[in-house]
């Protein structure tokens, strides 16, 4: 991410010169105010989470019983165990206090601390969605740049068309399609990749284990990339198109620079800014995993955990995962704001 900074002069030219020193202080102050805002949002989310999940229909204890005949004594015991027998305000204070101490409670269903469950699932989620995001971002930026630069060519039309189709295809359907074609195999195409879980049940050790996990990642990753990369492509393409019409590009060209260089050194760094925001916002969601993709491929991540929690429904688990995801999104949005501010002088002077 250093390149855009080093080559930010054209943008400065475009927006008028900015005073460097105060702006740095400004960035700190800006970051502090943004962080304050984020903390406030998180506090609101904590409050909101508690009440929203209590508005949901169904008695959690009865849901846990799953239609079995339970004596009132058993129901009372469960209520007591889950702290549901206390007045709402006590439950609320309890919840806030515990959340601040990073105690997200015990899952109704798994009977284990929610934080432990989340901890177990965070790794697989970051691996899958992180890899997926990295590929989607690189592919999207690369293809978007080409498409924008060679605007109107066959490559452009193909890229935009293909990405729009993938963007609009339902993830579930695409996932199943890939599973059938590349997982089970159709006609002469043999089944190539596993489509369940993160590893084989009898997973080997050492390097072979790495390969095993990698092979399990192929289909979920492919599905994830196929459906999300379009937005990077389209944003990159349109912001590059905008830059191309700017005067400084004409100037750069007039200097006799090679087309390739004008693109890489001048146009792309400026066009990257909106994409950066998008990437940061996405990272927030990455933490939450990709519920659909994880569910299709039984990937043991947070998305799957959330799905399972909703299915039961397991209120503490839902509450915990929901809280984590929201906080991640807020934090990443704040970071995006700050980084954007740092990268783009136009925001600073505004």
């Amino acid at each position: 991410m250093t390149t855009p900074l080093e080559s930010a002069e054209p943008a400065v030219q475009a927006a008028g010169p900015a005073d460097d020193r105060p702006a740095r202080h400004g960035t700190l102050r800006y970051a502090a105010s943004k962080a304050g805002g984020a903390l406030f949002s998180i506090a609101m989310v904590i409050v909101g989470t508690f009440f929203v999940f209590r508005l949901l229909p169904g008695d959690p204890v009865r849901n846990l019983a799953q239609g079995r005949n339970m004596t009132p004594a058993q129901l009372d015991l469960e209520r007591h165990r889950l702290g549901l027998d206390k007045p709402l305000i006590d439950q609320f204070l309890d919840f806030v206090g515990k959340t601040l101490r990073l105690d997200l409670g015990t899952s109704y269903e798994y009977k284990r601390p929610v934080l432990d469950l989340i901890g177990e699932r965070l790794g697989p989620t970051l691996l899958l969605t992180g890899t997926g995001l990295a590929i989607a971002v690189s592919l999207g930026i690369w293809q978007g740049t080409r498409a924008g630069w060679r605007h109107g060519t066959r490559f452009d039309r193909f890229s935009t068309g293909a990405s729009l189709v993938l963007w609009s295809v339902p993830t579930f359907w695409l996932g199943l399609l890939l599973m059938m074609v590349l997982g089970v195999g159709i006609g002469p195409i043999p089944g190539l990749f596993p489509f369940r879980g993160i590893e084989s049940v009898d997973a080997p050790d050492g390097f072979a284990y790495v390969l095993d996990v990698a092979s399990h990642m192929v289909l979920p990753c492919l599905t994830l990339v196929a459906v999300v990369y379009a937005q990077y492509l389209l944003v990159m393409r349109s912001s590059l198109l905008e830059e191309v019409s700017q005067d400084y590009i004409t100037v750069a060209r007039a200097k006799g620079l090679r087309d390739d260089e004008v693109r890489r050194r001048h146009a792309v760094p400026n066009a990257l800014l909106p994409t950066v925001t998008l990437v940061f916002m996405r990272i927030g969601f990455v933490v939450g995993g990709a519920v659909t993709v994880e569910t299709i491929y039984t990937w043991p991540g947070l998305g799957q955990l959330f799905y399972e929690a909703v299915r039961v429904p397991d209120f503490t688990l839902m509450q915990g995962t929901f809280l984590l995801i929201t906080v991640a999104v807020i934090v990443m949005n704040t970071l995006a704001d700050v980084v954007y501010h740092f990268l783009d002088p136009r925001v600073r002077s505004a």
Partner: protein, 604 residues
């Protein structure tokens, strides 16, 4: 273009190298030569602790792991010896003495009556230990052990004593557990007395079980039983087709049709243990008799319920909603699989599809049709417009609703569909009574007492909405009397007769209308499983059955070294595992070419 060809070639080489690596790795697979059965499950395990676990998949796994006092006989489904090798009952039916078999736990310790007594006493004294099987010990006065003799004293006679659903736990392992509610029992290998020992459990991924060498019937034929979890049924079907799993149960008709024409798969279609029925709000009340909910008053009239029954073309529902994979119901909630208990209406009593008769009944009872073709109550106040509550996530119920709407329109009754998520559904149809007609269904155990008990007065919710577990808000003196009588009746044929009379009462009073008995649909790999005995043995169930019989008798081909990993074609192993390498090499190659290009730019 040439550059791209070069990249593709590099990718090809990477694939080959990776493939070689995987093959080498698979050759050393420790599972090679072992007999492993992989069972697919689409429901995740809730707990490994049998005192807490309630889900079907969990209780199935516990049935493979632990011994019970008795098990259903593999031929007749009647109770037969398991950990209890014999038993006697006192003349008043209040004292039961079970002789516990001389056998060993999987850790070598002897199994004694003390283990069984501890298990039951734990449940009687610790509310948390009652979570899974509480009702089973409710009628127990005391449980004591004397050597190999287990003595259970009851508060009242209980004919279903021999279907006790509680797994016997090893006292020497479990007595140190103080906080039962929060104990997840994730300790491996487990100490068990059944055919299998759990050795590993990865949440929502798999459970590995190994054959128990100390099992009293003798070690199972296979070495390992793996239960592999899928979040999504389509993936599980795909897994079966590919050979990642060897057996899967509980399929829906469309899922079953997807495996029907696969030459490697045996599509297992047999009578099931489930009945699907309509639950009718005939005036829901609390257990102290206060009216509850907002059911349509017309449904309190037995005539209206009977007319509804006559208007349903059950054969059509079987053919078109269940794709022919069910049997139309002319009885109540006990499916024909249980030959002994099954009751079917005959003669005058039998309700067959007859819309004319349904119309006649309603006409005679004074429900006049209006100008719009919809009937009104005899007092003219309310139209016969009923709501039909179904689950949001079950497409087959949507289809059922469409057909029922059509059938009822024929007799001047409007039906509107009300979709509810499962928690709301349970609450409205089982506790608050906010429904007119609702879909329902139940999997029935070899002894139908418990499922019939869901229609007792006492199962209605208390005034504060607590307790309960009713299926119909039914409260009928005749039904109650028959239930009490069968409880005391230790003579099996006489008890069977009483249970049949209870079913008849449900059929004629119509608080529920059974529509069909769904088939048990399963599938397994013919090329992997060499033999498996269903329960009951003639044409019974596999995964969906009660007891461990199919999984004790199953035999499979040993895993060959070549296809160890995937279980499927050797291509899977060869080409799988590449992407990490491919991506790394591909990206490496990509950046390398870029680097070289950029230095070329620089030089220019």
């Amino acid at each position: 273009m040439r550059k791209w060809l070069a990249r593709l070639a590099a990718l090809g080489v990477a694939v080959l190298i990776a493939g070689q690596g995987t093959t080498a790795a698979l050759a050393q697979d420790p599972s090679a030569g072992k007999k492993i059965l992989k069972v697919g499950a689409t429901q995740a395990m809730d707990s490994m602790n049998p005192f807490l676990a309630v889900r079907l998949v969990s209780t199935s796994i516990h049935r493979w792991m632990y011994g019970y006092l008795t098990v259903p006989d593999s031929k007749t489904l009647q109770p037969s010896p398991d950990l209890a090798e014999s038993w006697t009952t006192s003349p008043d039916g209040l004292t039961w003495t079970f002789k516990i078999r001389q056998a060993k736990w999987s850790d070598g310790q002897p199994i004694t009556a003390d283990d069984a007594a501890w298990t039951f006493n734990k449940m009687m004294t610790d509310e948390a230990a009652k979570t899974a099987n509480g009702p089973a010990v409710e009628n127990f006065e005391s449980v004591t052990a004397n050597g190999q003799d287990l003595v259970i004293k009851l508060k009242a006679p209980q004919a279903s004593m021999l279907e006790n659903p509680v797994p016997i736990m090893p006292k020497h392992v479990w007595e140190s557990v103080t906080d039962m509610a929060n104990y997840d029992a994730e300790k491996y290998p487990s100490v068990s007395s059944g055919p299998y020992i759990a050795v590993e459990h990865k949440k929502d991924q798999y459970v590995k079980l190994q054959a128990n060498p100390n099992y009293w019937r003798g070690k199972p034929k296979i070495d390992e039983l793996q239960v592999i979890f899928y979040d999504n049924p389509q993936a599980a079907i795909a897994g079966l087709k590919k050979g990642d799993i060897d057996l899967i149960g509980r399929l829906s008709p469309p899922e079953f049709e997807a495996i029907q024409n696969d030459p490697n798969i045996e599509a297992w279609n047999t009578q099931g243990r489930r009945a699907a029925y309509l639950q009718i709000n005939h005036g829901a009340t609390t257990n102290d008799g206060k009216p509850l909910g907002d059911g349509h008053p017309a449904l309190k009239d037995l005539k209206v319920r009977q007319a509804l029954h006559y208007a349903i073309d059950k054969q059509k529902l079987v053919d078109e909603v269940q794709n022919g994979l069910a049997k139309p119901a002319d009885g109540s909630i006990v499916p024909p699989l249980y030959k002994d208990w099954f009751w079917e209406a005959t003669g005058e009593e039998k309700v067959t599809y007859d819309p004319a008769k349904a119309n006649q009944i309603l006409d005679d009872a004074g429900y006049k049709k209006g100008a719009d073709g919809v009937r009104t109550m005899p007092d003219g106040k309310r139209k016969l417009e009923f709501r039909f509550s179904i689950h949001t996530d079950t497409p087959i119920e949507d289809k059922l609703a469409e057909y029922l709407t059509g059938f009822f329109k024929e007799i001047g009754i409007t039906l509107t569909t009300k979709k509810l998520d499962s928690s709301k559904f349970t609450e409205e149809t089982g506790v608050t009574g906010l429904f007119d007609i609702a879909i329902s269904g139940w999997s029935v155990n070899p002894d139908p007492e418990e499922v019939l008990a869901t229609h007792l007065c006492s199962r209605r919710p208390a005034p504060n909405g607590e307790g309960g577990g009713t299926e119909s808000f039914f409260c009928d003196d005749t039904f109650e009397k028959l239930y009490q009588e069968q409880l005391k009746e230790l003579d099996r044929p006489k008890r069977v007769e009483l249970i049949k009379q209870m079913q008849e009462r449900l059929y004629t009073q119509a608080p529920i209308i059974a529509i069909y008995y769904t088939n048990d649909l399963e599938g397994y790999r013919k090329d992997k499983i060499t033999s498996i005995t269903p329960i009951p043995e003639d044409k019974g169930l596999l995964y969906g059955g009660s007891g461990y019989w199919p999984f004790y008798t199953v035999d499979v081909k040993a895993t060959s070294a070549a296809s160890a990993g995937g279980g499927g074609g050797s291509n899977t192993g060869l080409i799988a595992g590449i992407v990490g390498v491919v991506v790394v090499l591909g990206l490496g190659a990509f950046f390398l070419t870029r680097r070289r290009k950029s230095t070329a730019d620089e030089r220019e």
